[in-house]
Amino acid sequence: MDRNQSHRQVATMKQSLFDQGYLDHEQFNQLEELQDDANPNFVEEVVTLYYRDSARLVHSIEQALEKSPIDFNKLDSYMHQFRGSSSSIGAKKVKAECSLFREYCRAGNGEGR
């Protein structure tokens, strides 16, 4: 696949993520605007950091859910962090799921998972 085809494919995938509500158009565009010749790998760097943070948070959340009784305050705190970083990167759907999860935490609802 040549370079132009790759670019077109990435653009199509990105548009699809916008259209399906996974990615926030405006937020992600603002991130892309910070990438330039002086900072050519900025988006990749930020996304990599997001995945690393997310993996750590998901692991912590899974561990918290295994405990009995569930510490909802701790879970809520993890979800607040996850929601925050997802919002910053424009991961709209993840952010929405985190908000919903936090409602369950506040209601002390362990079955909502």
């Binding site: 937020q27 603002q30 002086a38 900072n39 760097e45 930020v46 943070d53 962090q81 925050g84 910053s88």
Partner: protein
Amino acid sequence: MAQQGGSSSSGGGGSLNVSPMKPLASLKVLVVDDEPMMRTIHKAQLVRAGINDVEVAANGKDAVDLHVNGATFDLILMDLHMPIMDGCQATKELRAMGVKSSIVGVTSSGGAEKTAFLASGLDDCVSKPFVLQQIAHYLKVPRSPTNPPKYHNP
């Protein structure tokens, strides 16, 4: 953005109690946030604005320690939720030390938590992550040493 009495964006001295406007390239900014991703995003915005002297700290204690060791900054971007020492405590300690830099809280929290954060000694509180527009005023008008922070409780 709300202004402290006596300050304006027009720069210069005269009757205004404000230091002359410093060029962006000479401003020193400290970014305090426990998330590597947020530090990266904030730093990129500041560099894009023309500020090259950007230092980072991963929690409130590191930020305080920098000042204890003699560092000074024109602007501090302070996250709220951080391990070891949060933004609220760090801001209180910095103000208690006599730090007069502009300190702008950066948080997605609201309500009572945000109010408490502001009352710890912040000049302002902005939302993550795209702070540049929200802090533009502080990049143009570094505070004069005699101009106290907006929310400081002495």
